[in-house]
């Protein structure tokens, strides 16, 4: 599904102070994988995320998405891929302020030619169990709820891939489990999930862990038995 070949990203070429964020990275992510990309800050994981999400182009190397080389895409085609194939989730949620959860979820649909915008948005809200908060604005929702709205927004166009950049970075432990259990469920239903994190804890809940260090893949292993976020959530609920 995703294949990176010799991907290199160098910043600051013009200023002369070159920083190599990624060095000759090779990586294959299969359809249905749940990948956690782990690394310390400055390791190159954010660059990885930007390149995977097509927000940035590599300096060198090839990126195949469903067997098509991404460099051959024009700007408008990239916008279409970001709209239809990839769903983004951000650390800071990036919901529009003073705008209802429903309208926030509708946003990607505005840029596609889908019909039944309201119906699709409501369906996506149901998947994150927030259909009863549809008319609430972000400041009326908790952090966890806001991130769930953001996930609904990522889901609404039914993309193959969910790309989440530190999705739990701003959340408390209970909300983190809630969000993670949603990702695990989505993965079970067939979605490919790529999650960027610096927390080992989170990575243990993914099926595959890729560790990045100094712009290179230092480790790449599969968790035979990833921790179940929904099970842990039950325990938290019981304790409360």
């Amino acid at each position: 599904m995703i294949q990176l070949k010799n991907i290199t990203k160098v910043y600051g070429k013009d200023s002369g102070q070159e920083v190599t964020a990624l060095k000759d990275v090779d990586l294959i992510i299969e359809k249905g994988d749940f990948v956690a990309i782990v690394g310390a800050s400055g390791s190159g994981k954010s660059t990885m995320m930007n390149i995977l999400g097509m927000l940035d182009r590599p300096t060198k190397g090839e990126y195949y998405l469903e067997n098509r080389e991404v460099n051959s895409y024009k700007d408008d085609e990239l916008a279409k891929v970001r709209n239809k194939t990839i769903g983004f989730v951000f650390q800071k949620f990036h919901l529009l302020p003073k705008t209802s959860a429903m309208e926030n979820v509708e946003l990607p649909l505005i840029y596609s030619d889908r019909k039944n915008i309201k119906g699709l948005a409501l369906e996506a809200l149901k998947k994150v169990k927030l259909e009863d908060r549809a008319s609430h604005t972000p400041n009326e929702l908790s952090g966890g709820q806001q991130q769930r709205v953001a996930i609904a927004r990522a889901l609404v166009n039914e993309p193959e891939i969910i790309l989440a950049d530190e999705p739990t970075g701003n959340l408390d432990s209970k909300s983190t489990l809630e969000v993670m259990s949603i990702f695990q469920e989505l993965n079970k239903s067939g979605k490919t999930i790529i999650l960027i994190t610096h927390e080992q804890d989170i990575a243990e809940q993914a099926g595959r862990v890729i560790k990045i260090q100094d712009g290179k893949i230092a480790e790449d292993y599969r968790n035979e038995n990833p921790r179940s976020a929904s099970e842990e959530l039950k325990l938290v609920d019981v304790n409360e």
Partner: protein
């Protein structure tokens, strides 16, 4: 269609979130549009007024002035008055020139009028019996004097409306005797009111007497100040002018030593042209004011839109990352600035209509608003929104989504 609706809804919302900013931008544009609307309304009113006045006078007149006519403070006035223009010249023009309907010699001067203890200074105008037709000045009351009365130098007078009002108020003036410079005259008629001429002279403040009476009994001269020539058709105007010039040069023996004309020919086509030219000047003034005020309004839009882009950098980054194309972002911000322009324009038109109306009823200026001026205002305000919105919109669309997303 859905997209356009969504864009407009979105823009309204964004503008509504920053109410005061939005209101300032709208007011900025509307002031410009109001100014333009009011000025155009005044210009249109003046133009219509002039057209009406000339229509009243008829535009097939050639006016021969004795001596030279210069512009004094913008008004045509005789300078170097000479005594060479005679009644016989008028006669000769009538007999020798083609395509001429009527010829009316005239002499005028401001004299003291007296009736029943009231006296007033008034323009006394000596003409022939064709005056009501040549000057398109019908009689309202009584009658005009006849050719015979002129030939016999009868002391009869026709009053302008203003003079009648001053001397007689509500009484019937017909048959009364007034004194013009101590000479008694019988009032036989009153002219219809015509108001003020395009150059500001009060057309009703005068009295009309037979020219022969004027020459012999009032002014005691044998020359004329002016000859009015009515041409049978406007198209003969310039031909007739040439013929009149040659007849007069011949009669005044100006050709012998190649002297300059001792008379000045003026036709109303030229007069209208002059008036239209001054309107043209006014139109340039309007364009200047419009340009400056819309520039100011446009800069307001520019400022609001740049702030809006800056405030919403994060939102733009998000939109770009979830599939908005550059042109989607451009349209989002352009529709916002278009709404600013359109709202400002609408407000400006409404204010313009109100102010033009108030000026029309409270001052002597006529105001007149055409559909075209409303249309132009709408186009102007929308294009201001568009032109000054392009730069901020492009700036928004060209943001790097990665950088934009990091801004909060």
């Amino acid at each position: 269609m859905m997209k356009i609706y969504k864009n407009i809804k979105l823009s309204w919302k964004a503008l509504f979130l920053n109410k005061s900013r939005t209101i300032f931008a709208i007011i900025g544009i509307s002031i410009g549009i109001t100014a333009v609307m009011v000025m155009v309304a005044i210009g249109n009113g003046a133009k219509r007024e002039i057209d009406n006045q000339f229509a009243k006078m008829g535009i097939n007149l050639i006016i021969i002035n004795s001596g030279k006519v210069d512009k004094v403070f913008g008004r045509a006035q005789q300078t170097n008055r000479v005594t060479t223009l005679k009644l016989k010249d008028a006669q000769a023009i009538k007999e020798q020139c083609r395509n001429i309907e009527k010829v009316m010699p005239s002499i005028d001067g401001t004299l003291k009028l007296k009736y029943d203890g009231i006296s007033t200074m008034t323009l006394v105008y000596g003409v022939t019996s064709v005056f009501p037709e040549v000057n398109n000045f019908p009689i309202r009351m009584g009658r005009f004097f006849t050719d015979t009365e002129n030939k016999l130098s009868k002391r009869v007078v026709v009053l302008g409306e203003e003079v009648r009002k001053n001397l007689f108020d509500n009484r019937n003036p017909i048959g009364e005797t007034i004194r013009i410079d101590k000479v008694p005259f019988e009032v036989i008629g009153v002219l219809t009111s015509k108001g003020v001429s395009p150059d500001g002279a009060n057309l009703d403040n005068k009295v009309i007497i037979p020219i022969k009476t004027a020459q012999r009994r009032v002014f005691n001269v044998n020359y004329l100040n002016q000859i009015y020539v009515q041409v049978s058709d406007q198209s003969y105007m310039y031909v007739a002018e040439k013929e009149i010039e040659s007849v007069l040069r011949d009669r005044h023996r100006l050709n012998v030593r190649n002297k300059k004309n001792d008379f000045t020919l003026n036709n109303q086509l030229n007069a209208i042209k002059t008036q239209k030219e001054s309107i043209e000047t006014f139109n340039w003034l309007i364009i200047g004011v419009a340009g400056i005020s819309l520039l100011v309004g446009g800069i307001g839009v520019l400022a609001v839109m740049l702030l809006s882009v800056k405030d919403r950098t994060g939102e733009i980054g998000l939109r770009l990352s979830i599939g908005a194309r550059k042109r989607d972002i451009i349209w989002q911000f352009l529709s916002e600035s278009l709404i600013l322009g359109f709202s400002g324009g609408t407000l400006g038109i409404v204010l313009g209509l109100i102010i033009a109306w108030i000026i029309g009823i409270t001052t002597s200026w006529q105001t007149y608003i055409t559909f075209i001026s409303v249309l132009i205002s709408v186009v102007f305000s929308i294009s201001t929104g568009l032109i000054f919105g392009v730069f901020p919109a492009r700036r928004a669309a060209n943001l790097d989504p990665i950088v934009a997303l990091q801004k909060e």
